[in-house]
């Protein structure tokens, strides 16, 4: 039988993290719930941010959860992909911007 480190069924067990540390687990889920409530940002905007971050941290559970959530919230497929591109742009940009440090160092060392 094929074994993988990630099991899709484990997403439903997310709540189980409270079993070994109930107090902190409860605080986390209360806070998590409040974070995604409608505020200055709409619930849909928050869901799109979550989808983008899910790709940045490359969490398969989060990608499954927020793909479904953004679809339910009526985000278009193009909108979902644009959000992932935003995440990818920041991620690649963060690598490239460090090349300034590389250039600075190289210039300092070179004649």
């Amino acid at each position: 039988m094929e074994q993988t480190y990630y099991n899709p069924a484990d997403l439903k067990k997310f709540g189980n993290i409270s079993e070994w540390e109930e107090n902190l687990g409860k605080k986390f889920f209360d806070w998590y719930g409040d974070v995604f409530k409608e505020g200055a940002l709409t619930a849909r905007e928050k869901s799109l941010i979550a989808l983008a971050v899910a790709h940045t941290v490359q969490c398969p559970y989060c990608i499954d959860a927020y793909t479904q959530d953004t679809l339910e919230k009526g985000v278009t497929e193009q909108g979902m992909m644009e959000a992932v591109h935003v995440a990818a742009a920041i991620r690649s940009g963060s690598s490239l911007v460090h090349s300034v440090q590389m250039m600075n160092k190289a210039k300092k060392l070179s004649m």
């Binding site: 479904q68 278009t76 497929e77």
Partner: protein, 347 residues
């Protein structure tokens, strides 16, 4: 165009197979769920809507259709059965006649039925139109005027405000035709403020997920349809896909069935019970048999046998006191913000 389950002689074309599959799941039964919150047996409130399915024939074959409608379906209500419906409406004073199908306009007696209902002073006549029927043949081009003449409330499916999602669910070119039909309805005054001509749209998810917030989606639809197509409408109703018929087939074929049912059960919202449409609606099939809703009709689950099961024996008091027939598919109407032919029920 895909074919109906009936045309394909698919196992799920048999109502009993669908019911057996739904009831064999591992989820807690809907009855148990109602018992825990004190709503068993489920009873009607007041019967306000008389929903008549005048036939399963349709010019479209949508992937999610709970009716399994299509051009090959020949079940059509006769004028005699329509007359029995009109007699009931006249005697019972039920205020709303909700005409559905298939494409109800394909019934050769459709216009007669609307005209007669209008004559006897039915408070509100709803026609669930798929929009594309208006453009399908020149003889239907005047439907907007006909609807206007009888002050019909038009309720039309449009699963999304762009072509890609709409066409994937309803067929190639359906979005473009729907937009043309909506413009024709707008042209005679439908959707216009203070015209008294109501045009509502129905959103249902284009896949195995629940509908989002009805108000938010209505804002999105209004903004997009106005900006891109200069179209106006009144209300958007969000409807959850019921796991029966062609949507059930889709769920099974894509291995989404278990997860979807689990999602419906986990999203059970007791607040949605109050506004369940089976509590204020009677559904009539093309042969005149009575059901608690259009979904039960498609599963062949007639109203409780202690109540009259045919239009010819209609008795409002007995039907108001009946026990509503339920099953696992009912979880779709109680999930999240609730779902009915009039949209979300627990906002």
């Amino acid at each position: 165009m895909i074919k109906s389950l009936h045309a394909r002689q698919h196992a799920l074309a048999q109502q009993e197979r669908q019911v057996a599959l739904l009831e064999a799941g591992q989820q807690p039964s809907f009855k148990e769920k109602l018992e825990t919150i004190g709503f068993w047996p489920l009873k009607p409130s007041t019967i306000e809507i008389f929903q008549v399915n005048v036939g399963y024939m349709c010019n479209q074959v949508c992937k999610h259709c709970h009716v399994d409608a299509g051009p090959d379906r020949k079940e059509i209500m006769t004028r005699e059965t329509m007359q029995l419906c009109l007699d009931v409406l006249k005697q019972s004073k039920i205020k709303t006649l909700d005409i559905t199908g298939g494409a109800p306009e394909l019934n050769p007696n459709f216009r007669w039925f609307v005209e007669e209902a209008s004559k006897i002073g039915v408070g509100e006549i709803i026609v669930r139109s798929n929009l594309t029927i208006i453009l399908s043949n020149p003889k239907y081009h005047d439907l907007p005027d006909f609807f206007k003449q009888h002050k019909v409330r038009v309720v039309s499916s449009l699963p999304f405000y762009d072509a890609s999602k709409t066409d994937r669910q309803r067929g190639d070119g359906v979005f473009e035709k729907s937009i043309k039909a909506l413009k024709m309805l707008n042209a005679v005054g439908y959707g216009e403020v203070d015209s008294g001509l109501i045009l509502d749209l129905v959103y249902n998810p284009t896949g195995a997920f629940l509908p989002g917030d009805q108000m938010q989606l209505e804002r999105d639809f209004k903004m997009s349809l106005k900006k891109n197509h200069d179209i106006d409408f009144n209300n958007l109703f969000t409807i959850t896909n019921i796991p029966i018929s062609r949507f059930l087939d889709f769920l099974i074929a894509t291995e989404n069935y278990e997860e979807y049912m689990e999602k419906l059960v986990n999203a059970f919202n007791p607040v949605a019970i109050e506004g369940l449409m089976c509590r204020n609606t009677i559904s009539v099939d093309w042969q005149g048999f009575l059901y608690d809703c259009d979904f039960n009709q498609m599963l062949g689950l007639k109203v409780n046998k202690n109540a009259p099961q045919h239009i010819s024996n209609f008795d409002l008091d007995q039907l108001t006191n009946r026990e509503i027939v339920i099953g696992q598919h009912c979880y779709a109407c109680t999930a999240g913000a609730g779902s009915s032919c009039q949209g979300a029920t627990a906002n």
